[in-house]
Structures are given as C-alpha cells and as structure tokens.
C-alpha cells in the first residue's frame, strides 16, 4: 500500500473521472452559498435553462451585506438590499437543504454556520464562492473557495473541474505559550512562507501544537491558509474533531454516527506519507503577532518595530514596503506598542466564534475602552454564537467596557455594509486581510488575535496581551 496524505485520500474519494492531462471532475458534497457571489451563477442557470443538480447539498445564508444594528429597519442601502433579496428569490426558486436568510436567528457568516450546525463533516468536499472556504478544512474536509462560474458549475453538475494540487505539510510542534493563539500561528506561518508560499498547494497542519488547538483555533488557522496562498488548509480527524461534532443539529446520530466515526478516523495522513513541501515551526518560540503593512506577510511580533525598507535588498519588496508605510501612515522603526488605534473590530470568519469572544471578553472584563478609541465593535459570527455569548454574559462585559455588541455578519471585515473605516482611521482587527481599502477606502488595518484586539481597545495602542495581569 502506498502511504497517502489526508489530501490524497480526500482527492481520491471524490474523483469521478479524469481527462488525459489529469484534469479531474471532483464530486462536491457541500455547497455553501451567499448573496455576493451567487446571483450571476443562478442567472447563468436560468439563461441556459438548467436546474440545480442536488439541492440538498446547498446551504445558504446572507452575511456580507447585512447590517449589524437596527435589524428592524431592514437593509437601507438599496443595492445591498437587492442583492439579499435576489438570494431569497433564487433559493425560493432553486431550493436548498437549509437557508438562513437575513433576520433568521441562525443567520451568520457562511463559514461559521457550516461547522456549528454540522453541515460541514469530515471527508466532505466543501466549496463556496468565497476564498475563506478553507476554514472548513479544520474538519478534515477538502474545502476551498471558487469563483462564480464554478458556483454555477457546481449547482448544475455537482462537480468541479480541478487539477490535483501539491501536498504541503506545516508541522507545528511544542507547547503553545500563553497569549499565543491560532491567529498568531497563522500569521507566523505567513511571515515565514509569504503570501504566495502555499500557492498551488493543499496544506495540512499537523503536530502537537495543532492537536492541542480547539476546533475554533484550527478553523482560524485553516481560514488563513488562503492568506498564505494555499487554496485549501486541513487538519486530520482526532477526538477534538469528534467531540465538537457530536450532537450538532445536522451531524449524523445513532448507528449512522458510529458508522461515520469509523470512517472519519481514517481521515489522517498515513505515517510516512510524502509531502512535496514541509515547513516546521516551533510553537514554543511564538509570540503575539501584529501586521504593520498592507499584506498579511507584512507582519512582526508585538515586541518588534515597524521594519525599515532601507534594509531590504530586493527592489520590488522594498518598493512594496515603502508604499505600504505611506498607506499605513507609519514611520520605519516605530515600536509596534507605540502605534495608537482609532477603532477595534472583533469579528469575521477568522475570529468570531464563541472561544474568540471569550478570549476578548476576558481581557476587557473590568476595563474601559480607551478614550482615543472611537469605536470598538464586537460582531458575533452567527446568531447562535451571539445567543451563547449572551448566555455567558459576554455581551454585558463588552457593553460595560464601552464596546458595541452587534448582530452577526461579515461587518467590518470588508465593509460592504455600513460598518467601515473612514480614510486614515487605524484599526486593530481580528479579520484576515489588511489590503488597501479592505475595511473602508483609506482605512488602515492591523491584523491581530481577539485578545490582542481587545487589549489594544482598552489601552488605545497595541500592547502585549501577555503583560496584562
């Protein structure tokens, strides 16, 4: 028997047929749909007179355009409203297994509702017209983002055309220090390999540090795989996976559960299986990370300073750094801890799950938002996360500290709704992209973990969360 990686197994178990050049039709088990990347796909179906192949594979929700406050007033922006209404109409016409529309209490970010309801199960192929679909790989799925043409292709054929990617292993060993999270591991990996480091690869995260992470932490890590250039990130099944899934509304039960678990336990890379690339990270050396620039690879630890482009030898990189510093309004060699912020955003499919909110609340408890921080926004990833947080009293902790407690959605991760940065505003954000204009035209984003964002919110500038008592 040839030793197979987890990715090899997932690939082989979904390959329907292949062309001579290896282009393969891959069967798709779960198709997540949201309002932004689907209207043109449904329109394409309509124009061609085609139907949806398997509507019980579709799970849909509205998340990108929805407001996070005053839900009773509906969606004010008419263009956003039309997009959300178009999704309603399309799901009504073409069907879905489940649809959580705007205002439903289970509505939320597509990558949060999938796992929490058990729509995402080990061994599946999961796709969505959204690059952060890699999140679902935390459940030993082959999960990746596709474009709108591919959304249409999956709707019409239940398959995707794909070429096998390379196998890459990121092995993180050792105890994770206090104050270091899945987010910091992700940023440390991107710092090491760059934003194109995983291009063309399916990345498996393994090692004792990964096994020690909760499912939330693993999802954060797989979510950011795309920021390392990898279309898919994944983690093998273990007890943590199974414990998370057991009892989820759409997870199998009874005999079916036992049968499923027996199969799921095989979803790991065989010992001695071959990877095209291997990166090793020592978890014990990791520290909280903060991005300083306009690409996730422009990242340092909280103890560092903003780098100096003069020390960079590569001309393209140097120019990129100089441009980023101008955009970010930063001087080289400034200590990260001296950077003052205007806003805080705790949310997004990277860090809006219950564990993230608990971590942020633990920092905020008994403290106040700093006077120079104009807005500190806490946006739970889904209605269910919100409910759970409120049960635990986290909402009170945030509100008492002057943080705003909002309705679920993508919110200021990309600012398609009203939540955004004004030009020049600087934000400590738990999201995944610090690109120019991502959180609002001219806005300046620093990516951090939830605890680090909360700490910056109470201090008014970045602080080392490990130094808080």
């Amino acid at each position: 028997m040839i030793q197979q990686t987890l990715y090899d197994k997932l690939w082989a178990s979904h390959a329907v047929r292949a062309e001579d050049d290896g282009t393969t039709l891959l069967y798709i088990d779960r198709h997540l749909v949201h309002e932004v990347t689907s209207p043109q796909a449904y329109e394409g179906l309509k124009v061609a007179g085609r139907g949806v192949w398997r509507k019980d594979s579709v799970v849909a929700t509205a998340d990108h355009n929805t407001p996070t406050d005053h839900w009773e007033e509906g969606i004010k922006d008419p263009i956003s409203r039309l997009q959300v209404e178009t999704l309603n109409a399309n799901i009504k016409e073409y069907g879905a297994k489940v649809f959580f529309p705007f205002l439903d209490k289970r509505q939320g970010i597509v990558h949060v509702i999938g796992p929490e309801n058990g729509f995402t199960l080990p061994g599946m192929t999961v796709v969505c017209g959204d690059s952060h679909t890699s999140t679902h790989g935390a459940f030993a799925c082959l999960a990746y983002g596709v474009g709108t043409s591919e959304v249409e292709h999956v709707l019409a054929t239940q398959t995707l055309l794909a070429k096998k990617m390379q196998n890459m292993l990121v092995q993180v060993e050792g105890d994770i220090p206090r104050g270091v999270t899945g987010k910091d591991i992700a940023l440390a990996i991107i710092r090491r390999i760059g934003t194109a480091g995983g291009t063309g690869c399916a990345v498996e995260f393994a090692g004792s540090a990964i096994r020690a992470l909760s499912m939330e932490g693993r999802m954060t890590l797989c979510n950011m795989a795309i920021e390392a250039g990898a279309r898919a990130g994944m983690v093998g099944v273990d007890e943590v996976t199974l414990n998370y899934l057991k009892g989820r509304p759409y997870a199998p039960m009874g005999v079916a559960w036992d049968r499923a678990v027996a199969y799921w336990r095989t979803l790991q890379s065989d010992p001695g299986s071959k990877f095209d690339r291997v990166v090793q990270i020592d978890a014990r050396e990791l520290k909280p990370h903060v991005t300083w620039g306009t690409s996730p690879e422009m990242v340092v630890t909280v103890e560092d300073r903003v780098p100096d482009p003069e020390k960079e030898k590569d001309a393209v990189r140097r120019e990129g750094m100089e441009r980023a510093l101008v955009y970010m309004g930063l001087q080289p060699n400034t200590a990260i801890k001296d950077i003052r912020i205007d806003k805080v955003f705790i949310g997004s499919c990277t860090n809006s799950r219950i564990e993230d909110l608990r971590a942020a609340a633990a920092v905020v408890r008994g403290r106040r938002k700093a006077a120079n921080v104009k807005l500190a926004l806490v946006v739970p990833g889904s209605g269910q996360v919100k409910l759970q947080a409120e049960k635990e009293g986290l909402d009170r902790i945030f509100k008492d500290a002057g943080f705003e407690w909002r309705e679920p959605g993508c919110s200021m991760c990309l600012g398609m709704n009203a939540d955004r940065l004004e030009p020049g505003e600087r934000c400590a954000s738990t999201s995944n992209r610090n690109f120019e204009g991502r959180q609002g035209t001219g806005g300046r984003t620093h990516l951090v973990s939830p605890a680090m964002a909360a700490a910056a919110g109470v201090a008014g500038h970045f602080v080392d969360v490990r130094e808080l008592r």
Binding site: T37, D77, L161, G229, E319, G320, L414
Partner: protein, 212 residues
C-alpha cells in the same frame, strides 16, 4: 466564453507585487447582481482620486494621473504584465470580469492567486506564467518603448516580443482546449452526467449520512 487563439496587443506594466482582488475591483462594486459594468471601476481606488460608488458616471471623476492605467501611452492596452502573486485574495470573479471588460485579454506574471487564475481561464482571459527573470525583462523592455506590444499564440504556447525573440509558456491541455474553442465547462461536464450519477449512487450507499 470568448475564444482565445492569437492575440497581439499593447502591454501595460503593473509594477507591484501581491496585487489583490480588492485592489482590482473594490468591494462596493460587488453588490451588483450583474456580470457586466465593472470595467470602469477596474483598479478604482488607484485610478480615481475620489471614492467610487456603484452605478456612478465615471467619466467626470478626477483621475489619478500617476496611475499607469491613466497614462496616455497605455490607452488601449490588452496585455497586462504583473509581479508575483497577482490576483491574490478573495474569490470574486468580478476581478477577471473587470479586467476583461476594460479590454485585457491576457496577463503575464511569475505567479497568480490560485482562485483568480482559475476564474480568469473561465472568462477567456489568459493568465500566462513566466519565470521572474523573463517577467523582469519584459518590464525593462516595455518601460522605455511606448507602443510596446506582444503577440501571444496560444496554440503554439509562445509570447513573441517585438525583437522577434519568444518565450514559451505552459498551460494545462484541458484549459488550452477550452480557451481555443471558447467552450463552456458546464456543457462539457454534463456530457458525463451518467458517470456523475453513478458515482453519486455509490456514495449514497457508502456514506449515507451525507445525503440526509
């Protein structure tokens, strides 16, 4: 999909690495439910001095004169040369739609974001990969030479330079076949509907919990 066979066109150099899809087409334009109308907002934040809004008349907006797209010598460009990791970031197919509608037919870069690469192929926009040294030469040759044009022959898989020199590029045979013929993938895939159905039936027996 528009066929791609041979294309000769003016080159536009986009001299920065990691150009993400948020830069290619900013989020406010993603609210559209149509497939067209994005060309005027290609690189919106870099191209105009004000903040763009969907549905706006862009002809009166103040231009950023320094931005390469606004320089007279690149008017009508249809081949974009770029640095590494072009089109990284989000899966928005609006990015290749915007590039295509603006008039680009091909791109040349050392690497691309994977999803963007795929999306481009599905829209008849050819993403050519050449190694960094060759891309660097193209940048150096294009800069001092207004009107610098390249010819791309997909059948022969070559980029032909004005000096007659040519660079070979690789492309997956299946993608090449679809581009050359302008085929729509869905139609091709549905020829295998029976095979997909059989695969699905087997899966229902092996992993019934996926079908409840």
């Amino acid at each position: 999909m528009q066929k791609f066979t041979v294309h000769k066109g003016l080159v536009l150099p986009m001299d920065r690495a990691n150009v993400d899809t948020d830069a290619i087409i900013p989020k406010q334009f993603l609210k559209s439910i149509r497939r067209t109308g994005f060309g005027q907002n290609l690189f919106d934040a870099w191209r105009y001095m004000d903040e763009g809004q969907p549905g706006q008349d862009c002809s009166k907006r103040p231009l950023n004169k320094d931005f390469v797209l606004n320089q007279a010598r690149y008017k009508g460009a249809s081949i974009l040369i770029a640095r590494k990791n072009f089109g990284c970031g989000s899966s928005r197919e609006h990015a290749p739609w915007a590039l295509g509608e603006y008039g680009f037919r091909a791109m040349i870069a050392p690497s691309y974001g994977d999803i963007f690469f795929n999306n481009s192929l599905k829209n008849g926009l050819l993403p050519i990969v050449l190694d960094e040294a060759k891309v660097e030469r193209l940048f150096n040759e294009a800069a001092p030479f207004p009107g610098y044009a390249l010819e791309i022959n997909l059948e022969a898989q070559v980029v032909i330079k004005p000096d007659g020199d040519s660079y070979h590029f690789d492309i997956e045979p299946f993608s090449k076949y679809c581009l050359l013929n302008g085929f729509d993938d869905i139609g091709l895939t549905l020829r295998h509907a029976a095979v997909i159905r059989a695969f699905e039936d087997k899966r229902k027996i092996e992993q019934p919990w996926l079908f409840t």
